[in-house]
Symmetry: C2
Subunit: 236 residues, 2 copies
DNA sequence: TTAATAGTGTCTCTAAGACAGTATCCG
DNA sequence: CGGATACTGTCTTAGAGACACTATTAA
């Protein structure tokens, strides 16, 4: 904080916001990518992002929300978190830049509805893609690093928080919840241990009388006790 | 990422880097503050910070290192970590701004040496202060929030990593290490449980033959097994 | 020998992991 | 009734917490 207000100001870096938006599709973890329609990297798939609008945005989180709603056309996710800020002279060919990266988590149904509204699987490219995280194309800028960090954060938090529940709709069974945790973590979890731990944390509560009907014994439907992320002791 | 390279560029926010540098003094947790010599908030104590130098800095971490060495005149800490990016139109009276905040941890001896070089406790104000974290003055900008978040992160990581060891010099006894953890966490820790846990994590190793001589039984001196932060399972 | 700090041994209790068992639906 | 999935009980084991005990120095 060296210069006085009116002093000649240093060259200010370019500031953007980039978002890694996770969701489930076909029981696998996916992220949203958009096809760029401007240089640099025109026509390449990249993370959704954009400039801060200093006239409108109250902060960069607001920027992220605006981009998710505007570019992707999906409902603003219940969970959104600032991830890390990437910077330097080479990450963007336009010059020294700062990218405030966010990660967010969208329920599978919201993602499916948005993709359905867009195309009808008829090959028409709408510019928005839902890509499995373990089968990503090489991404422009340093977006590979951003996704990498987002994945690590998501997996890390899955071991000690309710984060994977945000991939599910409002009502879910314990087995559906366990599936979501397994998809995120990439490992199998012991059924009864998972159940006990989750219930002990009282992070979920029964929706009285509501049961999921299948072709077997119906399962109790639960909801999160709080709309906020709940952290508990480590290790699942 | 909307506009083409040569399109009229949006008003870019002001980008600064602010640092919360922790150290121990008189067995209490302190941070460094500097007296501002420019508007806004001239003459107020604030976090050390500054603009990104796009000609010199490879990224904002580099900016943080440069500011620590330059403004504070202390050795660059072994542990430095990006904390969070604060942003918005009101946090800085100069306009819409982005502050990439860092936290860092400096060994007590380095801090003491730096403060000794500066003043000699004769009341001469050198513009640099070492202030206990539980007795901070109100800070300008949103620096109160920044310090708050830095403290939470430091305390959080103290429960599952070797972070508090970075407050100590290269050789330390287990009791000195426990003191550091207690200072950071603000709670007492069981002696034998702490010892067992720390040794199980093999985060430290004996320096063979080196003992700390006091007026009682000498204590084994240890060092970190790795210069990098080591994380272990939760709860201390 | 005593005071003080360094370091060890061990008992208890909680909770994770594993797995077997019971319950309730559909056909 | 059999198959399938939902849910419960319980045994074993690892590790945290508490605390008593032993060790080694200076005075």
């Amino acid at each position: 904080m060296r210069s006085s207000p009116s002093a000649s100001r240093r060259q200010s870096p370019l500031v953007t916001v980039d978002i890694t938006l996770f969701t489930l599709k076909d029981d696998r973890l996916h992220i949203f990518l958009v096809r760029r329609d401007n240089e640099p990297y025109r026509d390449r798939l990249a993370l959704p992002g954009g400039y801060v609008h200093t006239e409108d945005d109250a902060d960069t989180t607001q920027t992220a929300r605006r981009i998710i709603a505007g570019k992707l056309g999906v409902p603003v996710p219940a969970y959104i978190e600032q991830l890390y800020t990437f910077s330097g002279p080479v990450r963007d060919p336009r010059g020294w830049s700062v990218a405030v990266a966010y990660m967010a988590v969208l329920p599978a149904a919201d993602a499916a509805a948005a993709m359905h509204r867009l195309g009808h699987a008829d090959g028409s490219d709408t510019g928005i893609g839902l890509v499995p995280v373990d089968d990503l194309p090489p991404l422009p800028f340093d977006h590979d690093r951003i996704v990498d960090r987002a994945l690590k954060r998501l997996r890390g938090k899955a071991t000690y928080s309710s984060l994977p529940a945000f991939l599910l709709p409002d009502g879910f069974t314990i087995n559906e919840l366990r599936d979501a945790y397994e998809q995120v973590l990439g490992t199998e979890l012991q059924r009864s241990t998972f159940r006990r731990r989750i219930l002990e944390q009282d992070m979920i509560e029964e929706i009285p009388g509501v049961m999921r009907q299948g072709s077997q014994r119906p399962a109790q439907v639960y909801r999160l006790t709080s709309s906020a992320l709940k952290e508990f002791e480590r290790t699942i």
